[in-house]
């Protein structure tokens, strides 16, 4: 047990009541601190030491060790407001869903891209790609006494996310089931997914993702809107408690079927997600052991890497960040003006200043981690005043004297704007930086009151979820460049139903070449998540999912 100095070892008092009051207040605080040290695991104690010592020598140490293994605490960036697979507003909420719910199939942890059966005993795609037959494992129970999983639940879950069930939830992920006609139930444990057209993202993104998670039809009917904060699935952990802004707690499900047998049995009694919005607070929470696992800011990476008690696990994601140009703005309508601007943006400088050099440079939209669609030979633009001047000379209009660079408060945005400002000053363009909050940024970007901007989007394992935001349909919505290219649009639509992976790959590369030709953006980075934890923890990462990690497969 750690002993702290109590009032008896304070400096001698000389009978003054004021001094005594002060001393007692300080002493009280110290005693409180001392009393509580053994309640939580002491982060300052090396875990190896705890294991080496005989816990029987000290019951408090034994208790601390037990708590350590019973509970896994994870930082989330924001309060998880809904774990409903059809609603899920934040992509990281998927990490919680991955512990509570299961799908027919799942990605194996480790980023291999291999699919494994979970709730499906068998799953088979027809040759033309329009039918998927599945047979469920039998005897799988839902949490909360909602009974056994049947094919009816599968039909309900998929059709619900696809938006085919009238009067139910407004599904945000209907596009993940773009060509679903219906799910036919052929037996208590079997059924067929019918598609109007082949849909390649189905086996890459939909079935192994959040849109493929199976929920209890009875639970959704009974809980209604509360289902999002009281999710019922078949996963190894069941929902216990949600306290807004404080914690989301799941506990091991006693009747778990073991359907996810592609990994070992879960180790933890409870998993708690703790929302910590501020990066500095999160860094400290990880350092002090208040949470066991979470993302740290790029600025804290070096510090944690230098500390031998911690591991920083950089996970390259499919998420991307870029500097965009609103092509409908009068000052940016000429392609040569845009090329000149792109030429003067120092991407390496932005990565060094805004991300401490800890992210991968992007030269095109689709990341090299993506199974298909990465344009490996994309040009890498470096600041070049002469080349930029040449583009300006070729322009049909006079270059703008002033532009506005609009940013929100996301990491690296300020640095991106300032470095661009410095670069464009060299070719005589004055840049004014306009900092807005996320909601306001969205509004001005959508309404075309924007010229240059920095933005990053998240993405899953299929390239269609990257190109969709730059399609003509998204102009005036999420296509902040307000750029509409018919060739790009045609390719995007055709690639959605193209079943040959090589042909699809070529189509996505061509789309990126079109974007490059039109100089609508300067790609900056592929986002990296810096997951940080103590050396005795072994996490389980699934980069293909929005959630990125399988919490219940963590080991200590």
């Amino acid at each position: 047990m750690r002993h702290l100095h109590g009032p008896e070892s304070s400096p001698p008092l000389r009978g003054r009541r004021g001094q005594r009051t002060l001393a007692w207040l300080f002493a009280g605080a110290l005693v409180l601190a001392a009393c509580g040290v053994d309640e939580d695991v002491d982060p300052a104690v090396d875990d190896d030491e705890v294991v080496d010592d005989d816990p029987a020598d000290d019951p408090d140490e034994e208790a601390a060790e037990a708590v350590d293994h019973d509970e896994l605490r994870i930082r989330t960036l924001r309060d998880p407001t809904s774990i409903d697979p059809a609603v899920m507003p934040a992509t990281e909420d998927d990490a919680i869903a991955m512990s509570v719910m299961e799908g027919l199939v799942a990605y194996e942890p480790g980023g291999s891209g291999e699919l494994v059966n979970v709730l499906a005993e068998e799953i088979e795609e027809s040759e033309d790609g329009t039918e998927i037959h599945f047979t469920l494992k039998e005897g799988i129970q839902f949490h909360g006494g909602y009974g056994e999983l049947t094919a009816e639940d599968v039909k309900f879950s998929f059709e619900r996310v696809a938006g085919l069930i009238e009067g139910d939830v407004e599904s945000s992920y209907a596009a993940d089931w773009e060509t679903l006609e219906e799910v036919e139930v052929t037996g208590e444990y079997s059924g067929t997914i019918h598609l109007s057209e082949p849909f390649p993202p189905l086996m890459i993104n939909t079935l192994p993702g959040n849109a493929g998670l199976i929920v209890s039809q009875d639970a959704v009917g009974e809980l209604g809107e509360d289902f999002g904060t009281n999710p019922i699935g078949t996963g190894p952990y069941e929902f216990v408690e949600y306290v807004p802004d404080e914690r989301f707690v799941v506990e091991r499900f006693d009747d778990y079927s073991g359907a996810s047998d592609y990994v070992d049995e879960p180790q933890w009694e409870r998993i708690v997600w703790v929302p910590i919005q501020d990066d500095s607070a999160a860094d400290i929470a990880i350092e002090t052991g208040d949470v066991d696992f979470g993302e740290v800011s790029a600025s804290a990476v070096d510090r944690f890497e230098a500390d031998e008690d911690f591991v920083v696990d950089p996970m390259a994601t499919f998420d991307y960040g870029w500097i965009g140009m609103n092509v409908q703005d009068e000052a940016l309508q000429d392609v040569n003006i845009r090329r000149a601007i792109r030429q003067m943006i120092d991407v390496d400088g932005i990565i060094a200043a805004g991300f401490e050099g800890h992210v991968e440079r992007a030269n095109a939209l689709i990341s090299p981690e993506m199974p298909i669609g990465h344009w490996a030979d994309a040009p890498e633009y470096q600041p070049d005043v002469e080349q930029a001047q040449e583009y300006l000379d070729q322009a049909d209009v006079e270059p703008p004297e002033q532009l506005t660079f609009t940013i929100d408060d996301q990491t690296g945005a300020q640095e991106a704007a300032e470095i661009t400002q410095a670069g464009l000053a060299e070719i005589g363009i004055d840049v004014e930086i306009d900092l807005l909050d996320t909601g306001e940024f969205r509004e001005v970007a959508r309404d075309q009151q924007i010229q240059l901007f920095f933005m990053s989007f998240s993405n899953t394992a299929d390239p269609s979820w990257a190109t969709v935001w730059f399609s003509c349909d998204q102009v005036g919505d999420w296509n902040y460049m307000h750029w509409c290219n018919e060739d790009f649009q045609e390719l995007h639509e055709a690639a959605l139903t193209e079943t040959d992976p090589d042909t699809r790959h070529d189509m996505y590369v061509e789309m990126q070449q079109i974007m490059d030709e039109d100089a609508v953006a300067q790609w900056v980075l592929y986002r990296t998540n810096f997951y940080t934890y103590r050396t005795d923890l072994e996490p389980s990462l699934v980069p293909e999912r929005y959630g990125k990690y399988l919490a219940w497969d963590f080991r200590r």
């Binding site: 601190a33 009393c35 309060d79 802004d245 703790v274 501020d278 607070a281």
Partner: protein, 317 residues
């Protein structure tokens, strides 16, 4: 007294009503659509339109604000856009955490600031006085977010004592109190310095009074003179600013809650602004305004209660 109380209560209600009306209206001036932020990029126009209608966002702002005030008067603060939970539940949870933080900070401010001020006043211009003055002024100039970061670096990180983040479990008072110590200290430090300076100045005025000289002439001990007789009068100006202090501590809790990742009204309002979650934002604002006004009312009343001269003056007029 009853008439005064009635007048003050009436003014309190009017102020709360005006502040609520004003702030509930102002939140609508912030650009950004709550529905789009809530539903995310995959929402269709139809979904957005349906959600807007369900949330009552299609109604004119005046109607929305009036409806909020009317419902709030009946105890209904509406439902959270994101989770559909009652705002009153969210706000009451958050209020508990914020009030605990503000009250402990106030306790620390008074409990440490006043003795520090008395200590300085007992020997004016001595080394002790100069030292306490330096400490007090240093405390006044330290913003709570800077102090918070220092405390985090010192206690949980360097010394490995006291939790760094979260609020702890209210059902375990010791655990909850341990989570409160650092944020409350960070918040209190400015006011410790402020109270110390204020009490020192008041004490120096009071110790020169005839009744104190008489007390000394009777041979009473210095501690009795200082704490029983001098402090009683010297502390009155400090009580008058207790209400302001509590309001200020409530405001300052926004930063502290963010740094220590504590749930509370500040964090709730901040997240609600980010998400344009109007019902939660309005509910938080209402409670903050209410707390501020009530704190000032209590300070005013206690001032009259403690200082009999006010009551005597009132009776004479």
């Amino acid at each position: 007294m009853a008439q005064y109380l009635l007048k003050r209560l009436g003014m309190t209600v009017a102020v709360v009503l005006l502040v609520t009306l004003f702030l509930a209206g102002v939140v609508h001036l912030i650009p950004g659509d709550p529905v789009e932020l809530l539903l995310g990029p995959r929402a269709t126009d139809e979904m957005i339109a349906n959600a807007r209608e369900e949330m009552g966002l299609d109604d004119p702002i005046v109607v929305q604000v009036a409806s909020f005030v009317w419902n709030a008067a009946q105890g209904d603060l509406g439902r959270d856009f994101a989770t559909q939970r009652p705002v009153s539940m969210l706000v009451s949870n958050a209020t508990f955490h914020t009030m605990s933080l503000a009250f402990l900070s106030l306790l620390l401010s008074v409990g440490l600031g006043i003795p520090l001020g008395v200590l300085a006043a007992t020997k004016p211009d001595s080394l002790l006085d100069r030292t306490t003055s330096v400490i007090s002024v240093s405390f006044i100039t330290m913003p709570s977010y800077v102090t918070g970061l220092f405390l985090l670096l010192l206690f949980p990180i360097a010394l490995g004592v006291l939790p760094a983040t979260g609020a702890g479990d209210p059902s375990e008072p010791l655990n909850y109190l341990r989570h409160l110590i650092l944020p409350a200290s960070a918040l209190a430090i400015t006011w410790i310095g402020y109270f110390a300076r204020l009490v020192r100045t008041s004490m120096l005025e009071v110790v020169g009074s005839n009744y104190i000289r008489v007390a000394r002439a009777y041979g009473l001990r210095e501690t009795v003179v200082n704490y029983r007789y001098a402090l009683k009068n010297a502390v009155i100006p400090s009580i008058a600013i207790l209400g302001v202090a509590l309001g200020n501590l409530l405001g300052g809790s926004v930063f502290v809650e963010l740094i220590f990742a504590r749930p509370g009204l500040g964090n709730l309002a901040l997240n609600a602004i980010d998400a344009r979650n109007f019902p939660v934002l309005r509910g938080s604002i209402l409670v903050i305004a209410l707390l501020f006004v009530v704190a000032n009312l209590l300070a005013d009343l206690s001032y009259r209660f403690i200082d009999p001269r006010i009551r005597v003056e009132e009776q004479q007029t």
